[in-house]
Symmetry: C2
Subunit: 422 residues, 2 copies
Amino acid sequence: MRNVISAVCISCGAEHEADDAAYTCKKCGGILEVEYDYGYIKSRLTREVLAGRQDFSMWRYRELLPIEEDSRLSPLRVGWSPLYRAKKLGERLGLQNLYIKDDGLNPTASLKDRASAIAVVRAAHAGKHTVACSSTGNAASSLAGNAAAMGLESFIFVPERAPKGKLIQLLVFGAHVISVKGNYEDTFRLSAEAIEKYGWYNRNAAINPYLSEGKKTVSLEIAEQLGFKAPDYVAVSVGDGCTIAGVWKGFKDLYAVGLIDKLPRLISVQASLCCPVNRAIETKGPLEPMEENTLADSIAVGVPRNGEKALRAIRESGGLTVNVSDEEILAAMGLLGVTTGVFGEPAGVTGTAGIKKAAEQGALPPGAVIVSLVTGNGLKDTVSAQKAAQEPSFPGAGMIQIPPDLDVLIKEMESGFGNKFS
Amino acid sequence: MRNVISAVCISCGAEHEADDAAYTCKKCGGILEVEYDYGYIKSRLTREVLAGRQDFSMWRYRELLPIEEDSRLSPLRVGWSPLYRAKKLGERLGLQNLYIKDDGLNPTASLKDRASAIAVVRAAHAGKHTVACSSTGNAASSLAGNAAAMGLESFIFVPERAPKGKLIQLLVFGAHVISVKGNYEDTFRLSAEAIEKYGWYNRNAAINPYLSEGKKTVSLEIAEQLGFKAPDYVAVSVGDGCTIAGVWKGFKDLYAVGLIDKLPRLISVQASLCCPVNRAIETKGPLEPMEENTLADSIAVGVPRNGEKALRAIRESGGLTVNVSDEEILAAMGLLGVTTGVFGEPAGVTGTAGIKKAAEQGALPPGAVIVSLVTGNGLKDTVSAQKAAQEPSFPGAGMIQIPPDLDVLIKEMESGFGNKFS
């Protein structure tokens, strides 16, 4: 890879060959980060080059990605999700320049497709026939889907609490699914042992540094969609820490090659009862485990594997932390749907819940350009959506059940059903 | 609308003003079809114009759509869904040039977004604040989502059997949902009565001729994605008949403006126990009602409202009819997922099931360019997907549940779990 210099340990700084199959630091076991030759890339990835490029997927940024020039790319169309101006939602929150990046419109319906696309491309290039990971759900379904499209086999380790909708995706994509009777930590450990034993390609985002490189494409898109400007704030829901680290890496890379002239501040949003990353920021203390106590399953991570990268990203960006309750997450789901037509899963709307809370606390300037990253589609977890629609705070109109009789409908309309406007 | 000449009744040929609010023929009550000024459009919508256009959504074809030049467009990004070359699936079916058009990646996860986008644009232009429809689900969720994004209210009539995942979308988008204790026919009738009484904008595809104009954009995209070539065959699942009529209209319009030089043959695929359109073709008889007897809820239509348009489309194209059982639909769901990474709902994969059956019967030339239109996302109906994964014909590897213990996994692998390859 001419564009990649090395993989550097974020803990001890040791440099590794970029193609090295050992994904964690050989010296200290720390997590690696990919270092690019920005001078080389700067001359090749310009606004003009991008303006002429018809590839509207994450591969439009291939100069900034850790793939070989001759690598076979993954067939599913990942990335270039829409960035919507959320005028009505912004008005409700007192924010004039609020945007929603709907990453639930990726092929398997979450942002994780960006990481899995990199994984299957690298796995195929390395001659591997099988890929594997542990996941609370979205990384799993994205790996299964991208592997199927690429012609690879997949082994997926899921904790038993993963929502049904997510398991079914795995099965339909032909994955070998191993449901582990235990929490995310147990699941992760078993997957690591099996991957080592069987020599599968490792798509555990916390270990494999190439995956956050895939995730960073969401930031490259946001900046290009805003006309090569970084927003003032980007709100991201945080679980394992890999996504927010990837988001930050994307903006830093763009800044390094001169495509944006400032960096955004990150808003790290976690669930109040499972917020180890935010707690470490707020207390300036070390990362300490917490219970996995939130219905937002994608961010229910008590021991964040990429916590250090996440902490560094939040700190470097001068970021904010916001913790939101499950009730606030459910309320954000309805608010987002009603005002924008975007349906996010609980972890997908957690960023929006955080923006709402921060705005209400006066922590966000009304004129700031703010992007809320919706990381997964609400269809993945309709049980939570059902709960959201039953909350007293739900802003929608609701449902009546009646026989096929206009007079009955008229009575319902007169009794108030017709006046419930969002 | 400078590009539109009139709306012509498909039954009696009577011409109507294009902007007329009466959606069915004033003379005979027949369904109207929009007629364009192809000479005018031909000079404005060329390959060169399209090559320079950065709008990758259905609005890229606005010259061929029934909207005013100054209409406010709908905010959600509808259309430009990916067209995938399905090599592995093609190999299994003995077809060398098989493609999958994944319309499940639309904002509310189905092709119906294309019709609803037109509806909300026309409704807003007409100064309406409320839109309404009856639907088995996808038209409903697409209308609710597009209305929310456009800032309109929606009233949605659904038959009580609609899958839960689809109802939840409606609620999250803030729709007024009226669940009707009856079948699709009862639901449709009540919605028509209510729309008349309250003066809402009518998004019932069978009545409003502008909606199939939105649906036709899927064909415009297919042709452009194939390099301005029409495929030899396009397989479409058929319920109400509006989608296949729209698909056909798209190719005919493209042919009329000289952007393609031939027309495809349609493959009309219905469920064996609910196939009124195909039966009328096969028996050369009239459309007669059938029971709504299939798990593919989006095409469980016993009395197709757009049946005449559908029949005309299939006949004009020299089309084929294929009827598939629910078992064949479920098997197609797994086959599509395992070979392509695309997850379709039952009606979404019915076209693929039809192609499989037609190929096995030798009805399709192995070298023909064939497109299977996947009309909706599998996440909308995970209950059916669960059934699919439990069928003996399911081609995937399946699931095991184990404690977090490598030795247990090794035993499972040795007992055969590791050898189940798709």
